[in-house]
Amino acid sequence: MLAYLIRRLFNAVITLLVVTAVTFGIFFLVPKATGSDPALLYIGKTSDAASVEGIRIKMGLNDPIVVQYGKFLKGLVAGRDYANGPDVQHCPAPCLGYSFKTDQEVTPLLMGDLPVTLSLALGAAVLWLIIGISTGVISALRRGTILDRSVMGAALAGVSLPIYFTGLLTSAIFVYWLGWLPQGNYVPFTENPGEWFVQLLLPWITLAFLFAATYARLTRANMLETLGEDYVRTARAKGLRERTVIGKHALRSGLTPIVTIFGLDLGALLGGAVLTETVFNLRGLGYQALTAIRGNDLPIILGVTLIAATFIVLANLVVDLVYGFIDPRVRLA
């Protein structure tokens, strides 16, 4: 088990290194190939030649790309200094870089956005797990009934709806038309938990609906498959109560694939729910990333990409470990 864990951790670190290297490569090589000056991209187009030159020296843009990448990695673990003669900016570890365009360090900036994304993703995840799995199970148990058909019809519609449409639609209905919910302004949980809840309610429900649709479809399919297995028939034959048969025997193996998908979905969301955050005007990681991309602010883009990839890789790791607990067949492997 320990050896497996170490190997997986090692793989995770390698994946993260490759992700940063590729991101780094794209943002440093593509401008070079298209003939634009990275230093200019860093500071914005209106600046004078002297300050552009200053940035070039501070960022070490004259170094070969491998050296630049090395410096970026060193900053992550040990912090780094951006120095141009006496003009020094220190960036403590873990240093994701320094945005010269907005004149601030990337790490604290992104840490400030993290709670928004975290609140959005976790709240929605709780909702969609409850709704998705329960409707999926009920649908499978009542297969072929009107209930099953209508739930699955709704789920198919849910899978085909994009958040940037449903988000606008629900805001139009619940905020402007009925006036039941406020017009989205994130309030930190520590400041006012009640307000935090009310403000996030609409994004949670809208986001959860789309995911719940996928989960309901998946749960139903898996449940139907396990309900046809021999061991479920055996469990019934030996006189177990239906509740035990479903809850302990069928559900357990029916849900294992859900764990995998859930890990991946949550990991992807934590790295920035770009669309949801844009639609509901939540200033989280995804919103920050989009702003940075529009403003060509490379250090922030690199930072968000690294954080997003870390979440995905971590989620994968956790999923694989949890898998061993719920499905004894894959233990050890």
């Binding site: 794209i26 991309i293 995905i312 890789v313």
Partner: protein, 285 residues
């Protein structure tokens, strides 16, 4: 079945967009300021200015014909979705076959790359990539250049889904008796690959190629919604939704029409793909 009919209808509409706009609509870039209320910049008529003259109403501020823009949007949306699905399928089939058939280090490398691509913040990356690539190249205008860029990016990130399935199927087919028989009769690898394995893989490949089309439509619309897809003034559904953000509280029709089109199209393709799967692979029903 219903899905297939809608899909075919949408394809015909997209192909005939220039003709249909000539008959029932107005040129996509023609402004109709007379249809716009000067104080609120919203359409004068009810329901976003829907009338016999403007079947889907007019755009707020400019008064451009929404009907024509939806039709041309269908053109972009469907061509991006189809071409990128084609690219993903092509790459996925080649790499999946190679990994499953050759095994060994080739399989190890390809599987690793697929895992890596699937573990990638894809949307973020697509946004970043699209925004650093040039707006227009060669002799294509900015509309079709961007279509090709989108096809490249969406198609590239999509291939591991197909690749995984093809690899898995190839692994199990490789051990079957008919492949063994063919090999013992002295068939070369090339023959086994293309005459024995590929025909048996055609059904799952077709099903999954169909099922990634709706995903691609959603991704293209998402990128256009975020402002890194098809550049304005070229019409796109995602772009229209993004314009609608400013107006949806007073002119909801301008949001409902492109959103509804995306929904209907994606739903139709999903139904079509599900139906195809049930028909070609009765086990999965």
């Amino acid at each position: 079945m219903a899905g297939a009919i809608v899909v075919i209808f949408l394809i015909i509409v997209a192909v005939l967009a220039p003709v249909l706009t000539k008959w029932f609509g107005h040129p996509i870039d023609e402004y109709h300021i007379d249809q716009i209320d000067p104080t609120f910049s919203t359409p004068i008529g009810k329901f976003g200015g829907i009338s016999r003259e403007f079947l889907f109403g007019v755009e707020p501020t400019s008064g451009r014909d929404v009907f024509s823009r939806i039709l041309y949007g269908a053109q972009t949306s469907l061509s991006v979705a189809f071409l990128s699905a084609l690219l993903s399928t092509f790459l996925g089939t080649i790499f999946g076959l190679a990994a499953g058939f050759l095994g060994g280090w080739v399989d190890a490398v390809i599987s690793r790359v697929m895992d890596f691509l699937l573990a990638f913040p894809q949307l973020l990356f697509a946004i970043a990539l699209v925004s650093v690539l040039p707006d227009s190249f060669l002799f294509f205008g900015d509309r079709w250049s961007r279509v090709f860029v989108l096809v490249g990016v969406i198609g590239f990130f999509g291939w591991p889904y197909i690749g995984r399935i093809v690899r898995g199927q190839t692994l199990s087919l490789r051990e079957r008796e008919f492949v063994e028989a063919s090999r013992s009769m002295g068939a070369r690898s090339g023959r086994i690959l293309f005459k024995e394995l590929l025909p048996n893989l055609a059904a799952p490949i077709l099903v999954y190629a169909t099922l990634i089309i709706p995903t691609n439509i959603l991704t293209e619309a998402a990128l256009s919604f975020l402002g890194v897809g098809i550049p304005p003034p070229n019409p796109s559904w995602g772009g229209m939704l993004s314009d609608a953000v400013t107006f949806y509280s007073i002119d909801p029709m301008y949001m409902i029409i492109p959103g509804g089109m995306i929904f209907i199209t994606v739903l139709a393709f999903n139904l079509f793909g599900d139906g195809l799967r049930d028909a070609l692979d009765p086990k999965a029903r």
